[in-house]
């Protein structure tokens, strides 16, 4: 039985085929993150984070359980959460109102990064639908522009996409965004910005993160970036 297993059946959290040592290694990576001590103090298990959590209304998801599992150093449960729960968080950080000053959403950010960096199946699965978005952000540094959200092209984004795209002009007058990107301007980024951006992706390892979850996308991005840097005469 695993040393930290608190529960009746050692595999109560599932993933019995994954060695305990591997689960412990991943949790150690989470705990080693510089932000971790500021994100987790102690948990009252009061549930205020669940009460304010929009995801908790729609999924079997509880930021409390995430904070609790981390506080209890429950290696098995944390692994289960890295494979399941953390992808149900919308990263809105409503949970920051924790009376103890915890940041369950932040713990999830770290857990996600560890999951992505280590190519966990859940990370691959969760990011599958976002290949285009990742491609857009990493290759141009700008988000998908709202008028790209054509309902036919984004059926997985739900019925609101149609409403937004039909009435985009009205929406923008009601809630003016900082940039008024459209498909006409959304791809138009200064070469100097791209060079800086690509260097950042390379140097910080952000590009490497993609490799574990979407190898094809990683190849395309790497090629685009290397080509551009070569064109601009930038050495890495």
């Amino acid at each position: 039985m695993a040393a930290s297993a608190l529960y009746k059946a050692p595999d109560v959290a599932g993933y019995g085929d994954v060695p305990y040592e591997e689960k412990a290694r991943l949790f150690d990576l989470v705990k080693a993150d510089l932000r971790y001590p500021d994100y987790l103090y102690g948990c009252y298990e009061c549930g205020i984070c669940v009460a304010v959590c929009p995801s908790a209304r729609f999924y079997d998801f509880s930021p409390r359980r995430v904070a609790q599992a981390a506080a209890r150093e429950d290696v098995e449960l944390i692994y289960q959460q890295m494979q399941e729960d953390i992808w149900e968080c919308s990263q809105c950080f409503s949970c920051l109102r924790c009376p103890r000053g915890n940041n369950p959403g932040g713990i999830i950010t770290i857990m996600r990064e560890v999951a992505v960096n280590n190519g966990l199946a859940s990370a691959r699965e969760a990011l599958e639908g976002y290949s285009r978005i990742i491609y857009k952000i990493m290759s141009t540094g700008t988000q998908v522009s709202p008028d790209m959200l054509q309902p036919d092209a984004f059926p997985d984004w739900g019925p609101e996409v149609k409403d937004v795209s039909d009435n985009l002009d009205l929406w923008r007058r009601a809630l003016p965004p900082e940039t008024l990107h459209t498909t006409r301007t959304g791809w138009d980024v200064a070469p100097r910005t791209l060079v800086e951006l690509y260097l950042i992706w390379f140097e910080t390892g952000a590009l490497d993160m993609i490799k574990g979850v979407d190898e094809g996308l990683h190849m395309i991005l790497e090629e685009v970036m290397e080509e551009r840097l070569e064109e601009e005469g930038v050495e890495r």
Partner: protein, 371 residues
């Protein structure tokens, strides 16, 4: 001016002394307070030493500030012992209590220590500070096996180990790798008849948990609780540091049973916030026993004819704004004789009782003088 001489004049009529029963923290504070207000005081203590339960039960450090318990009690003893208005009677108990004609009391003492046998004292007022005793875990209605398994201990047993810096499993002398505390043993339990919260056990268990982590950094410490009750500053003084600095694990759910298994103790309960049953192996189980009225409190209440509540503690007659008057005018109570109480409240009520006792004596003196 040392002892407030002019105040003393008002209480100068002979015999107008205050008798304080009980030489623990509350009694020591009350006796010192009475003396400093200029009244003669006799401090009656059943045991052969002063200091009360913190000394008798080998407390390691006081809650919440971790001061060495014996040293802290010695400081109180050293303050009161040399005072010229203080008369200390060890190994003594009050065996009879009579109202005097014209007011005041005759207190009969039976002393075992100095061979003086029985003696009587005239008292203008009495302060009862006879305290509590730890709940006997043999009376619990779950199955914790305090008298069955050597590695099941109570809060005060662990205190003694902590005091000696020798926290080991009684069964084999090895330092434990996993310890858990079980809260509310003998408290908040209709089955047992103690429906009250004993107030201090959450803080004391958390304090001991911190001490265990300090002395045995490799030992995992768990606290199983119904709800943690560390009101006021205890929150940030004990609870948060226990969790955040010492990584004590608080798990909401009360242990229903302790079972021996493979040389360890298996504790069984529900992890309520995780919503699942648990069975966890432990090397030691510490029962957070609550407070019950001490034998001294029960006997003194009977001898002095004081109304007790259904649990045997002495009733404060006029709560909430008068916390120390008993059902008998001229007799005041303080500390854990009145019910579960932490040290801070015990010392506060002892001060209030001392003040009320001296006022009672002075009021009587002035009436007598006028009459």
């Amino acid at each position: 001016m040392q002892q407030g001489g002019e105040m003393q004049q008002g209480a100068a009529s002979p015999g107008e002394r205050v008798v304080v029963i009980g030489g623990g923290p509350a009694g020591l504070e009350a006796a010192w307070g009475v003396a400093r207000l200029g009244c003669p005081v006799t401090l009656v203590e059943w045991a052969a030493f002063l200091g009360g339960t913190p000394v008798a039960e080998n407390y390691a450090a006081l809650t919440p500030n971790f001061e060495d318990a014996e040293a802290a009690m010695q400081r109180m003893i050293d303050r009161v012992s040399p005072h010229p208005l203080v008369d200390i009677r060890l190994r003594s108990q009050v065996t009879a209590f009579d109202e005097r004609e014209g007011g005041g009391f005759t207190v009969t003492l039976s002393s075992a220590g100095d061979g003086s046998g029985t003696s009587t004292l005239d008292a203008g007022a009495v302060v009862v500070a006879t305290g509590f005793q730890h709940f006997d875990p043999g009376r619990e209605t779950q199955m914790y096996g305090y008298y069955e398994y050597p590695d099941v201990v109570a809060l005060q047993d662990l205190e003694a180990m902590l005091k000696d810096h020798n926290v080991v499993r009684p069964s084999n002398g090895e330092p434990p790798e996993r310890i858990c505390f079980v809260q509310c043993v003998g408290s908040r339990d209709r089955q047992i008849g103690n429906e009250y919260c004993s107030k201090v056990c959450c803080g004391v268990a958390s304090k001991e948990a911190i001490e265990v982590r300090q002395q045995l950094p490799g030992c995992k410490v768990f606290i199983f609780y119904i709800d943690m009750r560390m009101y006021g500053y205890w929150e940030s003084q004990i609870y948060w540091p226990a969790q955040e600095q010492y990584h004590v694990q608080y798990i909401k759910g009360i242990i229903t049973e302790v079972l021996p298994k493979d040389g360890k103790l298996l504790v069984r309960g529900e992890d309520t916030t995780m919503g699942r049953p648990m069975e966890v192996p432990m090397d030691m189980v510490v029962l957070s026993v609550g407070m019950e009225p001490s034998l001294g409190t029960r006997l003194t209440a009977q001898t002095l004819g004081l109304r007790q509540n259904k649990y045997g503690f002495i009733d404060a007659a006029y709560p909430p704004l008068d916390t120390v008057s008993t059902s008998r005018p001229g007799v005041f109570a303080c500390g854990a004789a009145l019910g579960p109480s932490d040290l801070e409240d015990s010392i506060s009520s002892a001060g209030a009782a001392a003040m009320r006792a001296v006022v009672h004596v002075r009021d009587r003196s002035s009436v007598t003088a006028a009459g």
